[in-house]
Subunit: 207 residues, 2 copies
DNA sequence: GTCTATACTCTGATAGAC
DNA sequence: GTCTATCAGAGTATAGAC
């Protein structure tokens, strides 16, 4: 049952705004502590609302988390969806790398929310991984295979090529504190990463 | 004060064994749920001990976690320590990649324990990151720089080269469920990764 | 729609018998 | 050394006044 009930009413503007405020605060807390480590108290304080008021807008802690994850999935897959089979192979892949790195830079909390969930076995997201995500990856992997067969990029296992893009871009968001601790002050990790990853994938993809 | 007190006594064999049992159970729970998400009940059940008995061997939940992390750090840095400035540059780096991938394959829970901690801002590990880890990385980065200057490997930012090795190898442990969901059954992620990463780094490092 | 008060459960940690 | 019993606090969620 995908239907949400017959008496479902459109939300008022103030309801929309409060829901957004709650989701924003929840993203902050969930991304830092994971699902079980996060508390409604922290979210309520971040949203400037009382705890019972939170639960007026969402039926439970889990409902907030699920809402965040499903909203996230679309934005997360958009860069891969945009990979165009008609474009120039190397430039298409490099564009994908750039867009994915921009997501890490501009939405690090979303990246960490996702990482937390997968790290914990993806209990609330397994369906999406085995369904939408797998379908999309298989579809795009087929494009990479065709490009390789045509000799337009190097012959590499397409799924692992995609994994390598995920690993290398998300690492900068998920392990941010480690990277900054190792680099020390005076570095812009993302700016340096952009050039490095461009070089890396150009060398890797060259036939 | 690093000293643990004047009355410190060597642990008996049974104490050693029980501590190990507790740490093993704690690794399982902490690596899956993070520090705050883990409970002493879960650890006690996994260890086959009562909760108060747990706290006879360790003064607190945090003490167990800290013990795990500090034990882990040594094993985690060993492969990088082994990078030999006198060896063949490309083979030394590829050996490092292989050893790091083996750690992910053979100790995925340790990898996830570490990932959880860093993801949550490394509150119990910042000193180690800014101290031992940074020193070691800086030292090995200097070796990479010398190899690049001698034209024996490609000219790449050494810190980011090391980050890329961490990202690509740890990804297979930390995002294990996602990788298996996307690949589907009938795959051995680590076996496939070994060949892929070998190819990737050979192409990347070629001068 | 929002709050105070509170029910009820879980959690980390301690006391004290054996 | 290990257990039962238990505490104090935090946790999610609900009741009900306004």
């Amino acid at each position: 049952m995908e239907d949400e009930g017959p008496a479902e009413r459109p939300l008022t503007r103030i309801q929309q705004k409060n829901r957004q405020t709650i989701l924003e605060a929840a993203l902050e807390v969930f991304s830092q502590h994971g699902f079980r480590g996060a508390t409604l108290d922290q979210i309520a304080e971040g949203a400037g609302l009382s705890k019972p008021n939170l639960l007026y807008y969402f039926p439970s802690k889990e409902a907030i988390h699920v809402e965040l994850l499903s909203t996230l999935m679309d934005a997360w897959l958009a860069p891969l969806r945009a990979l165009d089979p008609a474009g120039d192979p190397v430039e298409e892949i490099l564009d994908y790398v750039r867009r994915k790195l921009e997501l890490s830079r501009d939405y690090p909390r979303e990246s960490r929310l996702f990482a937390n969930e997968v790290l914990q076995g993806a209990p609330r997201m397994m369906d999406a991984l085995e369904g939408d995500l797998k379908s999309l990856v298989d579809e795009k992997a087929a494009i990479l295979t065709r490009w390789a067969e045509a000799g337009r990029i190097a012959d590499l296992p397409p799924h692992h090529l995609i994994f390598s893009i995920w690993a290398l871009t998300q690492h900068y968001a998920d392990f941010d504190v480690q990277i900054r601790a190792v680099l020390g002050p005076g570095h812009d990790p993302y700016e340096e990463a952009e050039g490095f990853l461009d070089t890396l994938f150009r060398k890797l993809l060259a036939p």
